[in-house]
Symmetry: C2
Subunit: 473 residues, 2 copies
Amino acid sequence: MQGRQIKRCGLFSLTLLATFLHCSCLPHSTGGKPFPETAKEIASYTKVAKSIIDLAVYGKAQNRSYERLADFTDTIGNRVSGSKNLDLAINYMFSALRKDGLENVHLEPVKIPHWVRGEESAMMLQPRNHTMAILGLGSSVATPQGGIEAEVLVVESFEELKKRQKEAIGKIVVYNQPFVSYEETVQYREIGASKAAEVGAVATLIRSITPFSINSPHTGWQDYQEGVQKIPTACITVEDAMMMARMAKRGQRIVVRLTMNAQTFPDADSFNTVAEIIGSEHPEQVVLLSGHLDSWDVGQGAMDDGGGALISWEALSLLKDLGLRPRRTLRTVLWSAEEQGGVGAQQYFQLHKVNISNFNLVMESDLGTFSPLGLQFTGSAQARAVMAEVMKLLKPINTTTLEQHGEGVDIEMWMDAGVPGASLHVADSRYFWFHHTNGDTMSVQSPIEMNLCSALWAVVAYVVADLEEMLPR
Amino acid sequence: MQGRQIKRCGLFSLTLLATFLHCSCLPHSTGGKPFPETAKEIASYTKVAKSIIDLAVYGKAQNRSYERLADFTDTIGNRVSGSKNLDLAINYMFSALRKDGLENVHLEPVKIPHWVRGEESAMMLQPRNHTMAILGLGSSVATPQGGIEAEVLVVESFEELKKRQKEAIGKIVVYNQPFVSYEETVQYREIGASKAAEVGAVATLIRSITPFSINSPHTGWQDYQEGVQKIPTACITVEDAMMMARMAKRGQRIVVRLTMNAQTFPDADSFNTVAEIIGSEHPEQVVLLSGHLDSWDVGQGAMDDGGGALISWEALSLLKDLGLRPRRTLRTVLWSAEEQGGVGAQQYFQLHKVNISNFNLVMESDLGTFSPLGLQFTGSAQARAVMAEVMKLLKPINTTTLEQHGEGVDIEMWMDAGVPGASLHVADSRYFWFHHTNGDTMSVQSPIEMNLCSALWAVVAYVVADLEEMLPR
């Protein structure tokens, strides 16, 4: 996932408000059908849910999503927007989905950003020589050839930068903001460069957005603000940011040479990758399952978001293996260029929103496929009541939680437009330790956890797609 | 600390045996004086121990050891055996100890290994291109110019290597041994190269010795066995070792190009750094406190072993500040070239063993200065009984534990020769996450924890040095 989570805070509040407004009429009805009947209908899926779980967790499909993810990420490696590797990944997945016997496997063209990191380095020259581990931030401009050599100003916050703005002129601003939460702290990565440029800085180095580090830089997208000078920007490690802060506090003069050869090319051609199990009664109505195929250009992109993509495939495989064809269509979409701001998903929305009334539920997994807890859900109180019943089917694997709000850059426009949305909710305490680093590899994934995620994903998608009525809005 | 812990297992058994043999006569006596009198004598230090703790933890010296360590490691950086940085570190510390007003500050010449890493890289060429994070192992030879390009054989153990030895000929052997414990698993780093060379391998890549990784390679010393071809050897990350193991299991051919420019120069001149508070009654009798000043050539060497060195200085500072001069001499020794096998400490032992009867207690801190629990102690049952009483003085900071065996490459020869030895025992569950990596920086240190370590170190050293009688052997 990338970093546009601030928006979700607003979404969250709206959702809470919606819940509040609706709660007086809950759970009297779910669309046309009285709620008790719907609840009874859902309970009738207990056996089929059990068979899906058995297949995924204990049966022939055990560890399959993990093995598929390992083969995919070991074969392709990372796959950043615009790269040849992303093309290879899309080809790999297109072939794999067809070979798996899924229906309507096809690619939908999108245009995506094409930013290339190039060689980059940061060397502290004063008070002593020290080579820093860095990762340029996505969309950053390059430094002039030979790099930028400048004194450093260390600040802990935007407020401090504002107070000391006169000192920033001609300097490299180092943000040493403490990690509070990803949602709150990521703003330094997203807009730190422009904030510093506004007060005359020549470059920025931003403490990586993570609560834990083994000298690990974390990359990510950043946004230049309109009308502000574009200056080079990279993330540094927590360790180096803290060290420079200590040096500055001692009154030591810090000089750094930053060299970045990043380049932005014209938008590239890419595809969202689609596969389906076509609905038996309402093929035009859709439950959408999704994850993104692109990753950052470091590590393997196993956690972000290979796992999400793979369980969205696996869910369909499981249902196909069991010969389960729901009333509505199950559609897996593997997005392109999520990390650059949900670019593939935005284009998908523009293309398909004309059919918005046929979108029953949109699902996204992009916060890791670790030990699952349940779902985060956005929708009306009536829809929530239905989903709560669906989640009870997951009792055999103890993943029945239904949290208050769905997250996800790639589905938020659907949710904003009123379509019920669900995100996989996992025990993800270490997610941001590895996020956008070289440590995002298969070593953080567990086959057992992926079995559980796949089972949950398949049960929810199947049952919601097969109910007599669509989810109420 | 470096990796020669296997020896300690033997030591541990001997210690247990010694304890067993002695326990029938415990705690009747402690040398010449009846034990109850010694216990009473120790209890009389309650107030002075409290004053040391107050100064270190709550008083003027609060956070001083941390601040000193930060200044030292931020100023010098890492300081591997034979490097200019180690010379700078010794000069820095010599000046600092003198400036602090300690007594008999001097340097004792030693000869130390001089191995230089040089440029190094490992590139996977098949089944796909992938740049691996590596760190050559200390004492490794270089590759021929242009590197070694060879197929990889992945094994999980020495047993598997033996079984598949015919396959190893001409290959780069990758050890993907699981992490069991540092003591057990480090043998792959220490002797893996020679084991592979014996069966015809051309180089080795060894999975880093750690239970946790964010794509972090861990370096360390390795030992070529006599009469075996010396082949280049480096550590790789857990992630890359696991990936190559998965690829091998799929039957994929793996080809790697390893390039290392490591060089071994003639032994270099260096020093153990010494400072004292000279004893008032028995200046020739010594309680020795120690840590090592050298580190690996990555990170800052804050944890390994800046912290140990700094609290061994801080303990003397605290006592000096309080005007406390014990009967015997307190001697802080900051070793050179521990990481290459306790090289400075060995030479110190050879030089000073003639006075072994005057060595009352040897102390070493080299497993991190994290939250302290107490001491690991090696000595007779009578000595242990005395130490147990001393540890009771640390009740105010709840660090009264006295574990069964002392560890420490730099003091083990004294303990082997019968001198009581104590190592700082800390809650070190994350120690090996950072050990010998670029993540060994000030960011893993806590001022509060270092205050506690310093207090413990000072109380134990002072009281043992001031008791009427030396510790019984």
